[in-house]
Subunit: 345 residues, 4 copies
């Protein structure tokens, strides 16, 4: 029996990345998984090749309108839509369809956080597509609705979780995360033009106002079983993909103690790699891969834990997490169609 998958928002970056991974998924190659409707908003009626010329096998596919009718005939629906659009579509689809949402609509559990950061009414909370959270893998296996984490939260949470969960660091963390431009999406804006971004590093969303802040805080607070405050500063750097998050918190632990905690926490996680002492992560090592590379260090003079995490914001940070979640929910091996090998240099 063939499982049919649709991708809504196929002409965007999240949609394109999901399709890139599906093109290489063994179940697509074997015919068990079939790539069905590809839908879009304003780009409906054009070919996928006009938007994603790198997806040669699907270049002639014509984009359809993003409607519940078109998506309804599928077993799996990926949503790569602007915030707020997912809830509307999801409401109109039967619960039997596995919906995997790359938007923010269903990530936050606290309606107050939702209203403060996104405005309007909270749509609800879905299982969080980060299998590496303690106990979460089991939840995802039974889910038919999954909220894929934000790209910054993915790397920030994974960088800090072991220390916070172990009580190794104070519950006040500082994250400064350098991101490539694709994290800002594909809508044309002056400040995302190549001329503006190339040759420049620029801070934005400074002072706790970035929407990913409560998402990071939510996961860490749950792990710590106490409120964890997060100072989060995103920085746009002249690259297309990748996030490098420098995560710090006061600690009295030594570097060896910290590294031991991380190595133990992630010993069984295929996609999380704690680098050996003396090696530090680079986003260039994880491009196109589903891996997260972590460098764990303690500045003993400043009594500060410094964990640097690297992730591809479009792969493990979005499309890879979506496919990983799908694999789990469909009962397949979690790593199918995903790789820990990046494209470098």
């Amino acid at each position: 029996m063939t499982i049919k998958v649709a991708v809504a928002g196929a002409s965007g970056y999240a949609g394109g990345e999901i399709l890139r991974l599906l093109c290489g998924h063994p179940r697509v190659r074997s015919g068990e998984l079939e790539i069905g409707a590809l839908t879009a908003g304003g780009n409906a009626g054009t070919t996928l090749g006009a938007h994603h010329p790198h997806l040669l096998p699907l270049a002639d596919r014509v984009l359809e309108e993003t409607t519940p009718e078109i998506l309804g005939g599928h077993d799996v629906v990926f949503l790569g839509l602007p915030h707020g659009a997912s809830a509307v579509i999801a409401d109109a689809l039967p619960p039997t369809i596995l919906i995997i949402d790359c938007g923010a609509d269903f990530r936050l559990s606290d309606p107050g956080d939702w209203t403060a950061y996104y405005g309007g009414d909270h749509a609800g909370t879905w299982p969080y597509g980060l299998p590496e959270l303690p106990g979460n893998r089991e939840v995802l296996k039974d889910a038919n609705r999954i909220a894929v984490p934000g790209c910054y939260p993915t790397v920030s949470i994974l960088s800090l979780l072991p220390a916070i969960a172990a009580g190794l660091a104070e519950p006040h963390v500082t994250v400064v995360a350098v991101s490539g431009a694709s994290g800002a999406g594909r809508s044309p804006k002056v400040d995302l033009l190549a001329s503006e971004v190339i040759g420049s590093a620029r801070a934005y969303g400074v002072g706790g106002v970035h929407r990913h802040t409560p998402e990071i805080s939510q996961a860490l607070s749950e792990a710590a079983q106490q409120p964890v405050t997060v100072s989060f500063t995103p920085i746009l750097a002249p690259m297309a993909r990748g996030i490098l998050a420098t995560c710090t918190a006061r600690t009295t632990a030594t570097g060896d103690e910290a590294r031991a905690v991380y190595e133990k926490a992630y010993a069984d996680e295929e996609f999380i790699h704690v680098l050996p002492e003396g090696r530090l992560p680079a986003t260039g090592s994880v491009i196109g891969s589903n891996a997260v590379q972590l460098g764990v260090t303690v500045d003993e003079r400043a009594q500060t834990l410094v964990v640097v995490g690297a992730v591809d914001n479009l792969t493990k940070g979005t499309g890879g997490a979506a496919v990983q979640s799908m694999n789990l929910a469909l009962g397949w091996t979690e790593n199918e169609g995903l790789s820990t090998v990046g494209v470098a240099p």
Copy 2:
């Protein structure tokens, strides 16, 4: 009377930037300042044009050996040499020569810090070429030996000084600074190759081991009149120039209070620009300029002061500070040959 200036290390990035600024300096145009010997190590005997083809007016100059004899016949000597080399040269030059050193040899006042971070014996301490430090401008006017600050310390200190000096923030600060590759110098190394750097953000010197750490701590501690610990993480981003430093510290102040402190502190500083609320700095705005642009914010939820500073590591971070220091020491207007206008986009 003509003042003759020599540049040692002319084929490197610091030397090239000093020469770029001297080419546009009004005293060079008027003939009061004359560009004399340009010296190098291994590149002696070649033309400057082979190394700095952007310096067209000096392209045919032949590089000489860096020796006390050749440098000795000048009134001003800029040193753009590897750490450790400056002290040797300086010892051999008469005290009447104004020496402006872009290396680290004479920046640190604590011999223990020197030995811990650079190894070997401490050469001494020279007036610190950062006129914006309280009281320091007067010191530089009388100096004939000046140690130009490191590029990371320049932006980190200027970003944190007003808050630290005013007691507005806790004396434990976290600096995550994204730098272009020119900060690492011009010696060929695999990890500085374009293929390695382009498309990747990479942390290095993590955990308090970067040599600029004690330099930041030294200036902030002096301003605070108490020890200030610094957690410093440098990150290499795919750009040639520029540093964006995200500086955080716990605070109970509001954003308005913090901004008021900064605006007052820098009201008379031509090169330090506190951006209006809602605007954030980008390195792309300061390329080739001697300006530092600061965005001052408080995350009141996380009780954290977040100051983001942008600087051109080669201009205000090195060569511009050197020229600014020379202007002061020679009794000229501080901004001659320097600009607050960057080259963008």
Copy 3:
């Protein structure tokens, strides 16, 4: 008496570059030249600092509407407007005002070329703001209307002119020109987003359809006194500024002969630099400068002249040529406010 200058289109890249150069112009510093109205279309009412944060001294200036009334009160008006808009404004301004147009409206002399490449009616032909064309400098000294050349034509014409004028090469030339993204302007478009441009080289306007093609052909044909056909291919590369044009034509000359012709042709041109044998141009050497660097070579095996020219598309390719033209038309020294020194690395 103070000369007042207005810049229309001040929030765009051409306008910003003109303003950057004016900020450093000695006649502005001396007060002889005054920066008057800065105008814009949709951005009227906002501050210049919101669009060009690198122009610190003008950051608080408020943009006015681009109208003949506002521009009319000035002695010099620079137009950095979309194609087609210049003619309308120019018609409404008195002939006593020196108008320097960075658009294409008045560049082409053949109405047929205009209609074929731009559509609609030909507005006329103004003196061409390329002083380095034979005899053209005198024309510009008397002009009160000047059409600044396109960025690609500037470097293509200067790279080929000596050979074509000397009959050294066949009158069929091939130009492949790699450009930074700022040449495409500041209007937000998906294919100019940083994510699309970074990490990718892309051809566009292939097959003789780019609008700069007839402009190149026009100048070369005039120099050759016979029609010169031009195969022109523009390529977008991941950089903000700069054009590197590789210009080829069949020749029976030797490399020495070709180089001699170029050296003689440009011996008195301050901004045109023929590199010595064995050195080749890079755009990185001319960023922010008004210089053009040329590498002249003959592939004797393939009987092909290969001239590679580097220019900053925004400086000598637009704003620098505009200021150079103004200097000439106002009777000032041609190089005031302009430099042959680039910002590198």
Copy 4:
């Protein structure tokens, strides 16, 4: 039975790319193909992870010395060595081993060309690892020695071959090819430093002196059955991977005629994709993929065929061609472990 493969030069870019592709090769996953010795020169004794942190599954492998003894125990040996080194190793290995050389030693058939461009004695000629050449696929199926084409020749030949073979264009072609920095290899050199490459386009090897020139000429001349002269200009652009080659030749054909010839020539070639009219290739669409994307246009005004080809220099331009050749020589399906899907943006 397991086939054992060794990679010599594993710490370089060619070796790394071969290993990246092998990590995803289905025969490696199934165990039929085993990754044996990874060897290096100066890096012997270190781990692969220190050089290629993106190859996580092989990170702990220790590099061995590149010797015939170590390579001898394998069925397939990939050579990613400096020019000149391959011949020595190959001589010392038995003919039963399939050797696939990514160097130039065995690409040229004319000893005169070899001596003129590489110097010294010609080592010989091996089957050329470009299956898309007419008749060449059959040759490769029987080969046990294969010379992988150079990266520039791959895209240049494929861009021009159909037109040249069909007599559609004059036998004098001009190729201007923009390349990312990885094509220059991983040896540290000043002019390949990130600071030098970022923000700059630079020509090198101008005037027919680049070593890939005779290789392009050789293949085209064979297809045309007459000498084809090639004017080849390589340009370094600020990107890590990818070549965009703009290939021109005089023609009297129309665009439709030219496109028809190309579509027919490549109708059965999985990895060669002729874009539909109005679409033009970008290197960003082929990163990490084995595809070549071609845009075929005729400038009828200038009577010039303009074919723009995009390729990933490390994949189809090196490592992908090596794996494709291995697949053929081992009797496997040609596309195993290779993809036409790129990583974008």
